[in-house]
């Protein structure tokens, strides 16, 4: 195995750190940055597997992942600006209207 285990571990670390940050932070912009970090973890994992199996499927998958990340960033940041204009704050807690 050409270092695949290490890559998978590093990818899992990045994914989980992004997940922890997404859950912990309240700033909408930082929350979306954390989703991008989760994407980075997935990219590392699929690139590692691509090397392990000696084909390009993983890299092609990572390329489409980049497309999804770009789409997500565009839409999410438009949404963030819209929400900021409505409430005047970036706090995600400001939108927890359905809390019991």
């Amino acid at each position: 195995m050409p270092g695949t285990t290490e890559y998978v571990i590093l990818g899992a670390c990045l994914f989980a750190l992004g997940m922890a940050g997404f859950l912990a932070r309240r700033n909408l912009i930082v929350m979306f940055l954390c989703t991008e970090i989760m994407f980075q973890g997935v990219v590392l994992t699929v690139v590692g597997f691509s090397q392990l199996w000696a084909n390009l499927d993983g890299q092609a998958y990572a390329l489409f992942l980049l497309v999804i990340a770009a789409v997500e960033a565009g839409l999410a940041l438009g949404l963030v600006v819209l929400l900021y204009r409505r409430r005047g704050t970036l706090d995600a807690e400001a939108w927890s209207v359905m809390r019991g």
């Binding site: 994914f15 940055l33 970090i37 994992t45 565009g74």
Partner: protein
């Protein structure tokens, strides 16, 4: 993976998780120094675990780049100012791109740098400027459920790691995986383009490669392009469509007239907005 490596890994996760809990912005319980010390211990344990796993093919560059990526990610999560989070995220992207180069994914590394560090990050910085909050607000100074979120994240990390390592070992034991010596050549051959695109375009570079050095016949970018333009043609078209839809949606969203919400008690004067969060 040996049990020693696995338990070292779990110790690294516990140490790192505890460190992250103390590092997360929290005015009451935040102990940055203790958190940094614990996090550093966790990173050391992670490096030890990597060394114990000891696959061939990872050198000092992997350790350095992996540590840079992890440290910058932790700073993205813990920094109270969003602008600095975005800048640390650039460093994470660069480290990940370099790690991709180490694994032979040069085109992907270039795409990561251009798209992430070049385009997406600029969008983020623009939005941070547009939604400017004066000074670090309580939004950034206080985390939401830091203990539970750190637990969720690090338990996920441990589960993924344990299962992935088990799956890797069983797959290698079952059939073995093709080693990556002739990876680029075989990838170009099996990228689903027996005729046409890849082979025709491969010829010039083939000659050039023979002239200069006995290298693989096709580069990573050419092989990946062949795979994407043939086997993943439908996905490529669909992603183009997706980008178009997202663009239309973003334009429609940004043109939307925002109603002034009556529920929000007196609107803060210009420049004061966002300084305090009213209790919703």
């Amino acid at each position: 993976m040996t049990p020693a490596a696995l338990y070292t890994l779990y110790a690294a996760f516990v140490l790192g998780g505890t460190g992250l809990y103390f590092l997360l912005p929290n005015p009451d319980r935040g102990k940055p120094l203790a958190g940094a010390a614990l996090g550093a211990l966790g990173l050391v344990a992670l490096v030890v675990a990597w060394a114990l796993i000891g696959d061939a093919g990872t050198g000092a560059a992997f350790y350095v780049l992996g540590l840079v990526a992890l440290l910058c990610t932790v700073r993205v999560i813990t920094h109270p100012k969003p602008v600095y989070s975005a800048l640390y995220f650039v460093l994470t992207v660069l480290a990940v791109a370099a790690l991709c180069v180490l694994q032979g994914a040069e085109f992907l590394a270039a795409a990561l740098v251009i798209i992430y560090a070049g385009a997406i990050l600029v969008t983020y910085v623009f939005v941070i400027m547009l939604a400017q909050q004066s000074g670090p607000s309580s939004t950034d100074r206080r985390s939401r459920e830091p203990f539970l979120s750190v637990c969720a994240g690090f338990v996920t990390m441990a589960v993924i790691t344990a299962h992935a390592s088990k799956a890797l070992e069983s797959s290698v034991a079952a059939g073995g995986t093709p080693r990556a010596e002739a990876r680029l050549a075989s990838a170009a051959a099996e990228s689903g383009a027996p005729a046409g695109l890849v082979e025709d375009e491969a010829k010039p570079s083939d000659d050039g490669a023979k002239r200069s050095a006995p290298k693989p016949v096709t580069g990573n970018a050419m092989a990946l392009g062949g795979a994407v333009m043939t086997r993943y043609m439908v996905a490529l078209q669909l992603s183009g469509l997706l980008l178009l839809i997202a663009m239309v949606g973003a334009v429609a969203m940004s043109r939307k007239r925002v109603p002034q919400e009556g529920a929000v008690s007196p609107r803060a004067p210009l420049g004061q907005a966002g300084r305090e969060v009213p209790p919703y």
